[in-house]
Structures are given as structure tokens and as C-alpha cells.
Amino acid sequence: MSEKRHGQLGLSDEQALSMYRYMLLARKIDERMWLLNRAGKIPFVISCQGQEAIQVGSTFALDREKDWLCPYYRDLGMVLVFGQNAKDQMLSAFAKAEEPNSGGRQMPGHYGDHRYRILTGSSPVTTQVLHAVGIAYAGKLEQKDHVVLTSCGEGSSNQGDFHEACNFAGVHNLPVIFLVENNQYAISVPISKQVAGGDIYKRADGYGFPGIKVDGNDPLAVYEAMKTAVERARNGEGPTLIEAVSYRLVPHSSDDDDRSYRTRDEVDEAKKKDSLVSYREYLIAQGLLTDDVEERMNKEVAQEVDEATEYAEQAPYPETSETYTHVYAE
């Protein structure tokens, strides 16, 4: 990475370091969840590992006071930037009552938090991209200037709802950013068998708005693309499709075994491009991530994850009577 790229993008040194801290926190929370799962303490994990740069780089370009997120189940980095914390994630992993997404009703990764304008999501993929268009349209009706970021995987981008949403947003020139996090696998099926032509960003041509492909292992590249997209959206110039390419470093979920469909060599090769490694090197080269700063950061993050885990493990489950609440307005 070249010198002072973050400065050229308008990011302060503090912001550049803060991006790394969010990426690190997301990674450490995720790694802890796998440990808890393998120890039999939590039933399920679905990971952000390999996509932290996309999630953190993109959300840093948004206004965290008014913009909206319609994320998908890997977007741990995004929801952390928007306001959720390690405790929220661990409460979700342990399915405890206090868990902010759903009160323990949904699997982990099904984010939703009214406090931070993160719309509740489901498991059928890509339904949220249409909701993002709806939130953008509501903003148009109310003459607000919020931008909506919605994300999905490259496999999910083949769903009809993705096309319907891009087309609708294109026709009405709405402030939506479609972010496809291309981690190259939809469970076991590689991109070559998922996406005709191999490129998702090119589809934007057909919708009449810009499409851009970025290195999803580079948070600054993602930030740069997003910044342009956000400015366009905020200025009433319409949607943008961003395809950010990275690699899913772990199996699809705790119930998957990726050894049956990809080689260890391939995964090891991808790990060399891991954003946590390359962005760390950039910050060290910039003189920002000194030994002292890193040691303190690692310690703080470890402590946050430890305390969150301990808290969540002790926290009460929902009362069984909660099975019957919130079916209709009460």
C-alpha cells in the first residue's frame, strides 16, 4: 500500500487506527464464538472472517447518525461500527433474553437494532435488499437525505429479489448502495458455478447506475468506493453497485466442513491476503500501529471479548412466556 493513502481519502490517523480496531474486534469475537461452539457452549456460529475490511471500510463512509443498514448474516464488522458491541454479539451467541437483535429468538448473525437503524434480517437470502429500497423510498417521500447500505453474498446476488431491487432503485434513482461481498463461495459452490460472466459489478450497466469492483481485502479501497457511492446517493444521483472481493477464511458455518470442497493450499494462500495482516502492516509502516499502541489495543479487545463472554454466559435466558409475545402489536 502506498504512503498515507488514508490521509488522501480524508481519514485521520485516529480513524485509520479505529478501522483496524473494529476489524480486530470483529475477528476476535468471531474466533471466540468458534471456540465456544467447539466447546459445546453455543449451538451455532456464522462468520465474518475474511470480510472484515469490506464491512468496516464500507460503514466508515456512512453517517452513523442517520444512515441505515440492511446487512446480511456475516456483517459483524458493520454492526460493530454502527454501534453494537461485543456483549451484544455474545448475548446473541448464547441466545439470551437481553440480546438486542431478537431477544434470543434468532440465530446469531441475524442482526437488527432499532437503536442504530439496522433493519432486522432473516435467513432467506437477499430479501433485505428490497427493504433497503423501501427505506430509501420512504426517505424520498419524507425528503430526508439518509443513505441505505445493503449487502449480500455473491451467491445471494443471483436471487430474483436482487434484480428486482436494483431495477426498482435504478428506475426511481434512490439512495441505495448495493454491496456484494464476494467471498468466492456460497457454502460449497464456487463463484465459477454461481455467477455467469464472473463479475457481479458489471450488472450495474443494465440498471443504469455505476458498478465498481474493489479489493475486499483493502479497507481503504472499500472506503474509497463507498465514499463516492455515498456522495452520489446523498446528492440524489442514485444507486451504486459495489462488488468487494475477498475470501471466506472459514467454513460456511459451524455445521459445515469445507475440507470436502476446497484444498487447504487454497485456504492457506488466501490467508496470506487476509486484511487483518495487510492492513496491520500498512498501519505499522505508517508509524501508527506502534508496539505500544498494538499491545494496548490487543489487550483491550481481548478484555472486551472476555467480559462479554462471561456476561453473556451468566445472563438469563428468555422466559418461556416470551414464545408468545410480539406476534401482533400488544
Binding site: S102, R105, H114, L119, T127, H131, G134, I135, L141, Y328
Partner: protein, 327 residues
């Protein structure tokens, strides 16, 4: 009180609610400049502008999904499916999303939208412009399902649906649109969702129905009255939430119950009504509960004799009531 048609009651309710609340907007295929293929949104585009009377691309899933997003944000969208038959591409959005948003967010988000859809046959609409689709949704908690039969009920219930905090499927029988007329107050009123309505008092046989077939029951009741058979007619108006109390009361009135709907019998909502009666009013019964429904064939055929064979009518209903009365 002015007499207006069922379809005009739809338009009037939309217009009044759009005037009352700026958050209300209409979206669907051809709802704008054209005023809807049935003309249910006629005049709204001129009055409220293209942003609030939105012609969408031809994409049912998007119509539902965009409405859900806007509703979760805080708007009050009224989405139109041009025909109930075409609601299938939106099924995932309605069932996986709208119905579950409140529950899955622990009550922190909701989806207060209305999805209107013209349903039902008798208009030469063939397989894909005639279906009754309510049974596909009645078993999905989180949705409310309203199926009015009269202009008065249309206006009051559509206004209530728009003001409701939860997603409402509002099914309008398209044969009723111009056939059924009735008195509708000019002033603002709503009717409670979840309340059935006794449309005729009687003592010999109880008919429980909704939509177009409710009118066949009323016509049959008129004729059977001359034969000395007194028919009690209960209009469910809302399938979900179901007014069980009204069903049990109507059952106790006569001890003989005929449930009628145009949707086909197997898995149809009549089975749920019959179950409620069997479980909670068995000892009130003097005869087996009977159902008169559309036949168990995939959909309504086009050719007139076949369509007629599929459709219920006054004669079929009269015969069924007469048989039950004689039991």
C-alpha cells in the same frame, strides 16, 4: 346515506386515508396514471401525485419488499397485487418477512403495511385471474387477513387495515366490485378487524361465509324463507384474527352449520371454522357440519360451462341449505 359500489368503497377509503395521513402511499402495477386495471386507484394520482401513487416495475416481490422496508421505517404503504393469483412471487416477502418482522425483532420493528389483492372468479378470468388464495396465508401467524363482502365493510375495514400496526392482507372479491352496492356513510369510520357480522338472523340453519359467497347465502336465505326455512347468516369479514365467539354464537342459534367459500375445500378455511365448532360447540350441533366450497381442482377453467361448474351460486347454496335443514 349514499349508495356506492364495492369498488368505489375501496377508492374512497384509500383517498380518505391518504388525506388523513401523509405516511400513507399506494404502490403497485398500473395504480398511477391508469388508476389501476380495475380502477380502484382512479383519481388518486391526480390528487396525491406520482410519488404517493407509485407505478412500480412489474415485480410483485419488489412491491411487497419495498413496502415492507418503507413500513418498517415508519410509513404506511398500501401495496396492490394486480390479481391475487400474482401474489405468489411475493410469497417469500409476505411470509418470511412481513409476518415475522415484529416477532423476530422482539417487538422493536414492525411492518404496518396493507397488501390489497383482487381475488375470486366469475369474471371469465380463467386459471390465473380467478383464484382464491386465502388458505395459503391463514396459517401464517403475524398476518391479518380481511375479506369484506359489502361496500360498508370495505370502507370501514380498509381504513382500519391502513391504521393497523401489523401487516394486513386485504382481499377484495373482484366479482363484487361492481355487482355489490350498498349504503356507505360519507363520514370517517373504521370497523374492528377480527369481528364477524351477522348479516341475517335465522333459526333453522347457520351459514358462515365471507366475500362473494356470502351474497349467495343471503339470496338463498331470501328464497328459503318462502319455504319456511329460516337461515342465519354470519359474515366472517376477517379470517385472521378469527371471531370464534361469533362462530360459537351463530352455531348455537340453529345447531346446523354450513360453511361456504369459493376457495377449494381441502385445506380451505372452512376446515378451521369446522374445527372450532367441533372443539368448542359440539353439543350445540344437531347435524354434521357441512362445507360447500370450490372443487379440488387446480384453478378455475375459462370455458363458460366449466367456469359455471366451478363457481358457487345461489342455486347450489340453496340446495345445500335445504339438505342440511332436512337432516
Amino acid at each position: 346515506m349514499p349508495v356506492i359500489s364495492y369498488i368505489d368503497a375501496v377508492t374512497l377509503a384509500l383517498k380518505e386515508e391518504m388525506k388523513r395521513d401523509e405516511r400513507v402511499f399506494v404502490l403497485g402495477e398500473d395504480v398511477g396514471v391508469r388508476g389501476g386495471v380495475f380502477r380502484t386507484t382512479a383519481g388518486l394520482h391526480e390528487e396525491f401525485g406520482e410519488d404517493r401513487v407509485l407505478d412500480t416495475p412489474l415485480t410483485e416481490s419488489a412491491i411487497a419488499g419495498v413496502a415492507i422496508g418503507a413500513a418498517a421505517y415508519g410509513m404506511r404503504p398500501v401495496a396492490e397485487m394486480q390479481f391475487a393469483d400474482f401474489i405468489m412471487p411475493a410469497f417469500n416477502q409476505i411470509v418470511s418477512e412481513a409476518a415475522k418482522i415484529r416477532y423476530r425483532s422482539n417487538g422493536t420493528f414492525s411492518a404496518p403495511l396493507v397488501i390489497r389483492a383482487p381475488y375470486g372468479g366469475g369474471v371469465h378470468g380463467a386459471l390465473y385471474h380467478s383464484q382464491s388464495v386465502e388458505k395459503l396465508f391463514t396459517g401464517v401467524p403475524g398476518l391479518k387477513i380481511v375479506m369484506p363482502s359489502t361496500p360498508y365493510d370495505v370502507k370501514g375495514l380498509l381504513k382500519a387495515a391502513i391504521r393497523d400496526e401489523d401487516p394486513v392482507l386485504f382481499f377484495e372479491h373482484k366479482r363484487c366490485y361492481r355487482l355489490i352496492k350498498g349504503e356507505v356513510p360519507v363520514e370517517d369510520y373504521t370497523l374492528p378487524i377480527g369481528k364477524a357480522d351477522v348479516k341475517r338472523e335465522g333459526t333453522d340453519v347457520t351459514v358462515i361465509s365471507y366475500g362473494l359467497t356470502l351474497h349467495f347465502a343471503l339470496q338463498a336465505a331470501e328464497e328459503l324463507d318462502k319455504e319456511g326455512i329460516s337461515v342465519h347468516v354470519l359474515d366472517l369479514r376477517t379470517l385472521v384474527p378469527l371471531d370464534k365467539e361469533a362462530i360459537l354464537e351463530a352455531t348455537a342459534k340453529t345447531g346446523k352449520v354450513l360453511v361456504i367459500h369459493e376457495d377449494n375445500q381441502t385445506g380451505g378455511f372452512g376446515g378451521e371454522v369446522a374445527s372450532v365448532i367441533a372443539e368448542e360447540a359440539f353439543f350445540e350441533l344437531d347435524a354434521p357440519i357441512k362445507r360447500l366450497c370450490g372443487p379440488d381442482v387446480p384453478a378455475m377453467p375459462y370455458s363458460p360451462p366449466l367456469e359455471k361448474e366451478f363457481m358457487l351460486n345461489k342455486e347450489k347454496v340453496t340446495t345445500a341449505i335445504r339438505e342440511l335443514a332436512a337432516f
